[in-house]
């Protein structure tokens, strides 16, 4: 029974590792400038965690195999180096490993959250609400008009609560249900929620950020590949949570300009 158990542990450990080691199960394609930092950090962590995982499981299995068939007269043996050796190893090996991961990982984090957006980043506002995202572009004046919560009306398609009669800045604002962006241009996404917590997640973009009701939050990113990707909500927001999504369309600058003009005409 002990030997079978040992073999089972090893089989499960190896079977778990194979899809990763053989690159059968990669993360979704990366379409962002910063994403490679996350992916490299992920790969380094996978290597270190994978070695720790396989080594520990195999040692566990080996010891179960070897030490479960002792005879009554056998003596207890002490692990070479004893507890002091193991504690030292844990501090040195794991301590160094995790500190290295922490320090290098901080760089990837900083590129998304600590570095400010470029001055010429394209500002786009996104509003999350049960169970849809809406996006707003500032229009030719480059300025978003103020949003008035009391004017929000889905029935009248005034999703942001704009007062286009009295607010000059709002008149040229463009509101859409999809996020179209030009490729290779930094986007400064200004996020707010109109009701409860939501999140903005595009796996290919390597961006996930919660909307915090009552707070304005922002992220910035640059998409590098033209294409259509899904934006999904990852913060439980109510019964339609699973179905809350929008599309991110990364377009060439010309296509983007044409799209924006078309959307402006629809307002």
């Amino acid at each position: 029974m002990a030997k079978l158990f040992a073999v089972t542990i090893v089989v499960i450990a190896i079977a778990s590792a194979v899809p990763i080691v053989m690159h059968w199960w990669p993360m979704p394609q990366d379409i962002s400038i910063h994403g490679h930092l996350i992916d490299e950090q992920y790969a380094d962590t996978m290597l270190e965690a994978g070695i720790s995982f396989l080594a520990s499981q195999i040692i566990l299995a080996f010891f179960i195999w070897k030490f479960s068939h002792t005879k009554p007269g056998d003596k207890i043996k002490r692990f070479p180096g004893g507890a002091a050796g193991l504690v030292t190893a844990a501090f040195l090996l794991v301590g160094t490993e995790v500190l290295a991961l922490g320090v290098f990982g901080a760089k990837a984090w900083a590129s998304v959250y600590l570095d400010p957006p470029a001055a010429n980043a394209l500002p786009v506002q996104v509003q999350a609400g049960q169970f849809a995202f809406y996006f707003r572009y500032p229009g030719p004046d480059g300025t978003f008009g103020p949003a008035h919560a009391n004017l929000i009306s889905e029935a009248n398609a005034n999703f942001f609560g704009l007062d286009t009669t009295n607010d000059a800045d709002s008149k040229d604002d463009i509101v859409t249900a999809e996020l179209a962006i030009p490729v290779n241009r930094e986007i400064h996404l200004l996020m707010h929620s109109k009701d409860v917590g939501h999140s903005f997640y595009v796996p290919e973009l390597r961006i996930q950020q919660d909307f915090v009701p009552g707070l304005d939050v922002s992220v910035h990113f640059t998409a590098t590949q033209i294409g259509k990707y899904e934006i999904v909500c990852t913060q439980l927001c109510g019964l339609g949570h699973y179905n809350m999504k929008a599309y991110l369309e990364v377009k060439s600058q010309d296509d983007y300009d044409a799209w924006l003009k078309q959307q402006a005409a629809l307002q």
């Binding site: 520990s56 901080a106 984090w109 439980l236 109510g238």
Partner: protein, 593 residues
């Protein structure tokens, strides 16, 4: 030590049925009551998970009889999207609070902590009785939420505001469902605070003659450390629940900011903070993870030592490591909030303690592995589950490397990777700890042995089945599969549905094993062969008293302790173990001074 007057805790054996079995002040009865509550809760939580898994695999599947649970939640026996979320929330809440906290800590701790310390009961037996009954009322309040108009809350066990704080406009169950949830958990906190006080005082003040702190078994140390955490963590969650209830019933706005609009209506709240809830919840929530798992570490160590016929490489290092985990657990909670909108510098600040907490975790694992080396390992149901615990704890632990880093968390947060991680490291591992404890201590608790063959069947199915469920969760997360979705309608998620179906089959298979366990438990309770006082040749105090122990634990003569807890395979000794109460001299390098 042992200076608390015996009169304070001494109470004669009750004679009436009610005082003996229901409103009992005997810690052993209370321990069994907690175990029974955890068992009922676990079965209910498991059935909920089956329903959820069937729905995730085959969304339009009619589950016969489901409409009896809720005619509106499952019309025609097919679950609605909101009912999926409601059952999911109940699964998490029931499992975390009423199973993973009650069984390893409150159930086994109540039964065995006083015995392992050499006390005749806990110092405040009436508080102890209250602790269970208050917890039971908390459970009933949670169950009651199934029967209110729009059912239990759908907000997830983390109950994030403002969804949880704005009332029924937020969706089904967000009115009375949330109020009952918060009331239930608030009441639960009171029960655990009372229990923690008793555990701490028992450990510090009730030890018998000769029982120094370092002579306490590792299980007793684990319960003690956990009770200190319980005292501080539940004391934060309880006021958070009270504030949440006030937001519902008293018109306050602790967790709701101004200018929120639902259904084109401006909500009449202002001035609250949604992140405040997250900080309060996770300041409790992360220590809670360790409240669930540290007792398991203690139980598994205790079970393994007896079955390895040797002490751990270092008793003290394990105790210090568990203590370090407890302290660090309060410093890492922000890793649940990396992408919450919290200041991004705070995320880095929370990342480093989270990475550092892997050091004491690694030390614990290495001590276990190093102690297995050169041991005389016995294979039985208890030791299999204890070894399975180590395997699960390793597997769930290494995925923590990823989630501890905010940069990678951008990708994996709120995906099935997280669900796989915490299920392995705190749920499956903790359950394996509970099973190891059950097979090991069942004879002492009931006077009968459990069936070993069915115990092993239970183990094999659980071990293979649990990996079959939770390893694929990690792959789903890597592919970006968001958690808490009742259906996978996104283009990139549709190809993952076959993986979900595989997991559902694995979950049903693993669930079948738990049915076998329960049948074994019930059958053995009444028909199992009689157990001797010390069936595993153990050394700690629970094995030096009768099986099952008398009302005051040790009969006429209180124990006197002469040795460290784990004197196994001592050279020159008359047997391969020397009990703590034995006067036989020991000259062993393992004897801690």
């Amino acid at each position: 030590m042992h200076d608390m007057s015996h009169q304070e805790v001494h109470h004669g054996a009750p004679t009436s049925f009610i005082r003996k079995h229901i409103f009992s002040t005997d810690h052993k009865v209370i321990g069994k009551q907690y175990y029974a509550l955890a068992l009922v809760a676990a079965l209910w939580g498991m059935v909920l998970s089956w329903i959820m898994r069937l729905h995730l695999g085959w969304g339009s599947l009619a589950i016969p009889g489901l409409h009896f649970l809720s005619s509106t939640g499952a019309p025609g026996d097919v679950m609605t999207p909101e009912y999926y979320l409601q059952l999911m929330t109940m699964h998490g809440t029931i499992m975390v609070f009423f199973v993973l906290t009650t069984a390893p800590f409150a159930a086994f701790g109540n039964f065995f902590l006083p015995i392992q310390t050499g006390a005749e009961d806990m110092p405040f037996p009436h508080f102890n009785m209250m602790s269970f009954w208050v917890t039971f009322v908390g459970f009933l309040v949670l169950v009651a939420s199934f029967f209110v108009a729009d059912g239990p809350t759908l907000g997830g066990w983390t109950m994030y505001a403002p969804l949880s704080a704005i009332g029924s406009v937020g969706g089904p169950g967000e009115g009375w469902g949330v109020v009952l949830w918060a009331a239930s958990i608030g009441i639960f906190c009171i029960g655990q605070l009372l229990g923690s006080l008793n555990f701490i005082t028992t450990t510090l003040d009730m030890r018998c003659k000769g029982m120094s702190l370092m002579r306490l078994p590792l299980s007793a140390w684990a319960w003690f450390i956990t009770s200190v955490m319980g005292l501080t963590a539940f004391a934060v969650l309880m006021p958070a629940c009270i504030l949440l209830i006030l937001d519902h019933l008293a018109g306050t706005s602790f967790f709701v900011p101004s200018n929120l609009v639902i259904n084109d209506q401006l909500l009449p709240h202002s001035g609250g903070s949604t992140l405040l809830w997250q900080h309060l919840f996770w300041f409790f929530g992360h220590p809670e993870v360790y409240i669930a798992i540290i007792p398991g570490m203690g139980i598994v160590s205790h079970v393994l030592i007896t079955n390895m016929r040797r002490p751990m490489l270092s008793h003290r290092v394990l105790i210090y490591s568990m203590g370090s985990l407890a302290v660090l657990s309060y410093m890492v909670y922000g890793h649940h909030m990396f992408v919450s909108g919290m200041n991004p510098v705070s995320s880095l600040a929370f990342s480093f303690p989270t990475l550092i907490i892997t050091i004491p975790s690694t030390i614990v694992v290495l001590i276990w592995l190093g102690s297995l080396y050169g041991s005389k390992l016995r294979i039985n149901s208890a030791s299999l589950f204890a070894l399975g615990f180590i395997s699960m704890f390793i597997s769930g632990g290494v995925s923590g490397f990823f989630l501890a880093q905010p940069s990678i968390d951008i990708m994996l947060h709120a995906t099935y990777f997280v669900v796989g991680h915490f299920h392995l490291v705190m749920a499956v591992a903790a359950m394996f700890g509970i099973f190891a404890g059950t097979y090991f201590w069942f004879p002492k608790m009931t006077g009968r042995m459990m069936n070993e063959t069915w115990g092993k069947v239970h183990f094999w199915m659980s071990f293979v089945g649990a990996y079959g469920i939770f390893m694929p969760f990690h792959y789903l997360g890597i592919a970006g599969n968001v958690r808490r979705y009742q259906a996978f309608t996104d283009d990139y998620l549709i190809p993952l549905i076959p993986v979900h179906r595989f997991i559902t089959v694995a979950a049903l298979f693993t669930g079948l094993a738990q049915v076998i366990f329960v049948l074994n438990l019930i059958y053995s309770r009444f028909k199992g062969p009689a157990a001797t006082d010390n069936p595993w040749q153990g050394t700690s105090l629970e094995w030096s008293t009768a099986t099952p122990p008398p009302h005051n634990n040790f009969g006429d003569k209180m124990p006197v302790v002469y040795h460290d807890p784990y004197q196994y395979s001592v050279e020159g000794a008359s047997a391969d173990y020397i009990m703590q109460t034995s006067t036989e001299p020991v000259h062993s390098p393992d004897e801690e001074k």
